[in-house]
């Protein structure tokens, strides 16, 4: 069965006086992979549980395609759900777990066997058919749970931090499995995570949540390159948030901002006037150390004193003091070795990526 579209309209969930989810609306196209990204307590799991029917919304509506599913009981919604902790039934084997939902639907035994085998192929669990949960690694058990959720062929699969209980290596492996499953099945998938790397690498669309509300919604590149708020800038990827003040607003949708000890010419944002506080977001990965290169290649150039250098393999992490603000700079490639060798006291750094966010940090 191909994926179905999902629409969430003004969804709110209150626990007493606390609004865990506050007037959230977004769409998921059929076959799309959407990730709800946010810190603990941002309401992302509550949204997923309401979509699944495990929580009842205080208000708002949930649509599967053109069917209003807001009041449909969980066991009649027909969506798959993968929980944070591996929830493989401990008293059933891998095969029995995967076939559990099919047996419930009274499918013929031969059809169950065929489908279970197909699911084992899909999540690459060959040779482990007769094992129990205690005989599997966390990653293998989570694969069983994904296969079990997909076996009844649900149009929508919900994944609640499915990688968070695993170590880094297993997390990467299972992430690839999930991406592969989505590509091959074209299921609509909604995944919850607090890990921005998972979100950016898996999602077609990211919904960034903060305090029960949507902070920003867009493609991973959009959310990463053009964060709407200081929270999004700092939560999605590493960034340096620098305080600035608008000094002049020009006619050609440009303005100047006083920050890092200089006047910086940037694209103007609607509603900003001279004297307004802004935050500048400069990603450490976008900042480059300019060594004997043409400065004009970079729209934004700063000079600073090197305060600290840490070699962490793939990158050289530097802390550079620019007019009293400490900027983190990630030097990559061969430059990191020459910088380590030369150990300069001052450096010139440049970037073409600088985002202006209205409001102070």
């Amino acid at each position: 069965m191909p994926g179905a579209s999902l629409r969430i309209e003004h969804l709110t969930k209150r626990f007493g006086a606390v609004a865990a989810v506050d007037d959230v609306s977004f769409d998921v196209a059929a076959g799309q992979f959407v990730v709800l990204l946010g810190p603990s307590g941002s309401g992302k799991t509550t949204i997923l549980r309401m979509v699944a029917g495990l929580e009842v919304p205080t208000s708002g509506r949930i649509w599967f395609g053109d069917r209003d599913a807001t009041r449909t009981p969980a066991h009649k919604r027909g969506v798959g759900y993968v929980f944070q902790r591996p929830s493989m039934f401990p008293h059933y084997t891998v095969r029995e777990n995967i076939g559990w939902g099919l047996k419930l639907r009274k499918m013929p035994r031969a059809e169950i066997e065929r489908r279970v085998t197909a699911m084992i192929d899909l999540v690459q669990l060959h040779g482990l058919d007769d094992r129990y949960a205690t005989q599997l690694s966390g990653g293998q058990a989570q694969r069983v749970v994904i296969a079990r959720a997909l076996a009844p062929d649900p149009p929508i699969l919900l994944l609640d931090e499915p990688l968070s209980a695993l170590d880094a290596k297993l997390r990467d492996e299972l992430k690839d499995v999930i991406a592969d499953v989505q590509r091959r099945t074209r299921k609509t998938m909604v995944m919850v995570t607090h890990d921005q790397r998972e979100a950016l690498s898996l999602a077609a669309k990211v919904v960034v949540m903060d305090l029960g509300r949507i902070a920003q919604l867009g493609s991973p590149a959009d959310v990463y390159r053009h964060p709407a708020t200081a929270f999004v800038a700092s939560f999605v990827g590493n960034t340096n948030l620098v305080h600035g003040t608008v000094t002049t607003v020009l006619a050609n949708r440009r303005m100047t901002v006083r920050a890092l000890g200089q006047e910086i010419d940037v694209r103007s944002e609607d509603g900003l006037t001279p004297g307004d506080a802004v935050s500048l977001s400069l990603r450490p990965d976008d900042l480059e150390v300019i060594e004997g290169r043409d400065r004009s290649a970079f729209p934004y150039v700063f000079e600073g004193h090197v305060r600290n250098v840490v070699f962490i393999g793939g990158i050289l992490q530097m802390e550079v003091d620019v007019a009293g603000e400490l900027l983190r700079v990630h030097a990559a490639g061969r430059a990191r070795f020459s910088l380590m060798q030369e150990a300069p006291e001052t450096v010139v750094i440049g970037t073409s990526e600088l985002v202006v966010i209205p409001g102070a940090t």
């Binding site: 969980a74 929830s87 039934f89 084997t93 939902g101 419930l104 639907r105 749970v145 959720a149 009844p152």
Partner: protein
Amino acid sequence: MWGSRWTVLVGRRLIQVYAITAALILAYPTVQLFIVAASDDIVFPPRYFSFTAFNLDKLPTLLETMPFSIALGLATTGVLLALAIPTSYATQRMQFRGRALASAAIFLPVIIPGVGYMVALGTAYILVFPDLIGSFAGVLLPTVIFNLVWMVRAVQSSLSVTDPAYEDAALMLGASRIRAFFTVTLPAIAPGIAVGAMITFANSTTAFTAPYFLGRTTALTTTVGIFNELSRNSLIPRLAAEALIVELIVMSFVVAAYLMARKRFRGLII
């Protein structure tokens, strides 16, 4: 380095000594009973052994009371399985007013001295249900009440380590709440249920307080029968043999139940 290795070695040895001492203390009564049953020689170690005391034809107390004991054990376990599982589930998983009170109330029968409880219950029997005195039901009721806490606590412990996500996962696969409970949660808490059932069966088959106070001469367990005889005689080989046979029968039931549970719930019970 050497210090830590030495500490580990000493620690291991201490654990071994502790385990052996504990095993000896626990096994001592059985060994003592066996020595008495197999010999009425008052010298230790005994100079001669004999198994004549184990002749069933000469164990009238055992033959008279054992059927009642086993029936009481089975009935108590059955009733408690039906009562304790929903009680444990409600007090462990559901939110309702008075939950804490209900959880605490389960402990009352084992906190109040057994004699006091029996006097209270006996008074109620005499005043309201006189037919219950000396009857199976009259002994069954307090035996169930006394054992409720052990069964409930065993099942609650199992529930507390059973992830509620299993039940939610079953729901998401299309099962109703009831079906999810019976097909996923219940088997997952089988180890706790098995432990609770074993303790309950052993406790109730060898129950003393309830049958002693409320059983008269018609509803007696073997334990009470042996005690009554003991109050007339000293510990003679026949009584020691009866106590050992009771122990053997209870242990056989418990081991059989354990093996059946292990076979039925593979992957859960070691």
